[in-house]
């Protein structure tokens, strides 16, 4: 009996490579005398769609795509998953591999990644492939989160234009419209962590992950873990839901409906929810501990204090560490120490400005969407909305966060050395009229931001270069 192969091809633009891969696979199949049906995911939509019968009858599946082609359908089949370029360049190797039968069975939601196919040259070890998978999940979360940050952040910033206390009914600046804007903007920003968490989980475990990811993200948000907690929650949820899918695999088909609307959400939430709760509850203690630690340092050497404050503010941008610095600052304001808050504000303003300046100086290492978001960060940074930098940090936390910490530390150190006093707890540059030595303060912040931007720009340049190198090696992402 003739071997039957099915394939799905797709590329981001969906004009050229999707169809080149289709043609290449069809020709290669003809050369090897096997039957093939290729489904294309192009600009015009899905063409030549694979039916459930096609999938059931197939001896093997080739996924040659740089976009989602609904690989879940192929669970239980022998599946090769490669970038679309691989099918264009070397279709025969893929067909031969399917014929040889030496292909692992695709289990559940996690596609078989390229490192497992033996006939195909791979420079990347398994570490790189896992790294790529994690990056893909993370990016799914970040790209969904970004518009929330921009929408919420900009509305909040606009409300500050009415006066930084315009939201407070007890203040003489109170303005109902501004207060409403700030509330709406705040809701947008508060959704950041849940959305980040939900879409990381969705990328790993599809819809069951999305549902539980949202709730895990709400737990992270409510318990004040900041975006780092959201990232951890997203991965935790995703992989636990994959585990559940595996555990339920043995259930008879009649339970499929029950699985989707009852078993996954309820059992998933029970496990993930409790775990997230336990993991995130120490946050308050961490926060309190850091605060008393920090209060002890308030009169220490300005350089040391600047490093501590700067690093704390930029570390998690709204998480427990940042909050500890910020709340300590507002508390000390109440006690009449206006110096401490000046450094905290400088350190909180710096991270978004770092991304803005970096996108300005290193234009070509940022794509269009990132550049736009980075330019919006000039507004968010200038109004003390540190969260603007989160999408950039979340993309590559291990490199970006230390860079932001350096930038913020420099801003804070200079602020302390210049003996600037800031009597307001937020508002960014909008409070300049009440700042003592406002010019020095702005200089301190710009210095930290620009140094940070140069470091960040070079890190982007470095990672772009690395990606190019990988691409040349495996002719991936077309």
């Amino acid at each position: 009996m003739a071997i039957k192969i099915i394939a799905a091809t797709g590329c981001p633009t969906g004009i050229a490579h999707t169809f080149m891969a289709q043609e290449a696979l069809e020709q290669a199949a003809k050369r090897h005398g096997v039957e093939i049906k290729v489904e294309t995911h192009g600009q015009v939509g899905i063409q030549n769609p694979l039916t459930p019968e096609d999938i059931a009858e197939a001896d093997g599946v080739i996924i040659a795509a740089d976009k989602d082609v609904q690989a879940e359908r192929f669970a239980g089949k022998r599946v090769i998953d490669v970038p679309v370029g691989k099918a264009i360049k070397d279709p025969d190797a893929l067909i031969e591999q399917i014929i040889s039968g030496n292909v692992p069975i695709f289990r559940g939601k996690e596609p078989v990644t390229e490192e497992k196919d033996v006939n195909v040259e791979t420079r990347s070890g398994s570490g790189a492939a896992i790294g790529h998978t994690i990056y893909k999940h993370l990016m799914n979360g970040v790209s969904h989160m970004l518009p929330f940050v921009v929408a919420g952040g900009v509305l909040t910033a606009i409300s500050f234009l009415f006066g930084i206390y315009s939201f407070d009914p007890k203040s003489s600046q109170y303005n109902e419209f501004a207060a409403t804007l700030k509330t709406i903007g705040g809701m947008g920003m508060n959704l950041m962590v849940p959305v980040l968490c939900a879409y990381i989980a969705e990328s790993i475990a599809k819809r069951p992950g999305l549902v539980i990811g949202f709730i895990a993200g709400m737990i992270a948000y409510t318990n004040g873990t900041g975006f780092l907690g959201g990232i951890i929650g997203g991965f935790l949820t995703g992989y636990i839901m994959l585990g559940l899918a595996w555990a339920f695999k043995k259930l008879p088909k009649v339970f499929d409906g029950l699985k989707a609307i009852f078993l996954y959400p309820v059992i998933g939430l029970f496990i993930v929810g409790l775990l997230m709760w336990v993991l995130s509850s120490p946050m308050e203690a961490i926060n309190k501990g850091l605060m008393s630690f920090l209060t002890g340092f308030q009169h220490s050497n300005p350089v040391l204090l600047g490093i501590i404050v700067g690093s704390m503010c930029a570390f998690d941008m709204g998480g427990p560490v940042n909050k500890a610095a910020y709340v300590t600052g507002t508390m000390l304001l109440g006690q009449g120490n206006y110096y401490f808050m000046a450094g905290v504000s400088a350190a909180c303003i710096t991270p978004p400005l770092v991304t803005g300046f970096a996108a300005l100086f290193f234009r070509k290492y940022f794509d269009q969407g990132e550049r736009n978001a980075a330019y919006v960060n000039f507004i968010l940074g200038s109004t003390h909305i540190t969260e603007g930098a989160i999408p950039f940090a979340a993309k590559n936390p291990l490199t970006t966060i230390p860079i932001l910490m350096v930038g913020s530390s420099i801003s804070a150190i200079l602020t302390y050395l210049f003996k600037v006093q800031v009597p307001a707890p937020h508002g960014g540059f909008l409070v300049l009229p009440v700042v003592t030595r406002p010019f020095m303060w702005v200089t301190a912040i710009l210095t930290g931001s620009i140094i940070g931007a140069i470091l960040y720009g070079f890190s982007r340049k470095h990672s772009t270069a690395q990606q190019t190198e990988n691409r040349e090696g495996i002719a991936s992402v077309i």
């Binding site: 633009t13 004009i15 169809f19 600009q43 015009v44 002719a475 991936s476």
Partner: protein, 150 residues
């Protein structure tokens, strides 16, 4: 107007870099009424190239972009006297660039199918040979039209 005309095909460019090829393609696109701004087309082609190379095998490349400055779909062919570095799949310098321009708002899917047909036909080695050995614009036009008409 047609997606491909004889006027869209130009031969014998001497280009030092990929950008110079894009410039020639964009100028043709504007001159022949496919696009409003050459700069936007060049940027679009560059951005696409940044995602990954469109360089293919045997000196062929299919740069393409979907862009607001493009008014109607078109195929622009530019051949080079010298090979241009393109990080192509087989590492060979590119001598024939077949550019595909796609408007932002594409109403009919028929046009997109034409573009895809061109991409598919390049998968055939004999087509690549024919195009490489074509002596003039008319020959290139005839080869491409033959596949577009199918």
């Amino acid at each position: 107007m047609a997606i491909l005309t004889l006027d869209n095909i130009h031969r014998g460019l001497i280009a030092k870099s990929q950008v110079e090829v894009f410039q020639a393609i964009a100028n043709t696109a504007v001159k022949n009424g496919y696009a409003t701004h050459a700069d936007a087309v060049i940027q679009g082609l560059k951005d696409r190239e940044k995602e990954s190379t469109t360089g293919f095998l045997d000196g062929f490349a299919i740069p393409h972009t979907k862009n607001a400055a493009i008014q109607r779909p078109g195929i622009i062919v530019q051949t080079m006297e010298n090979g241009v570095e393109w990080s192509s799949m087989d590492g060979q310098p590119v001598k024939i660039a077949i550019a595909m321009l796609i408007p932002e708002s594409e109403a009919g899917t028929a046009h997109l199918n034409y573009l895809s047909k061109i991409a598919k036909m390049l998968m055939h080695e004999e087509v690549r040979k024919q195009l490489t050995h074509a002596q003039n614009e008319q020959e290139i036009f005839d080869i491409l039209s033959q596949y577009l008409g199918e």
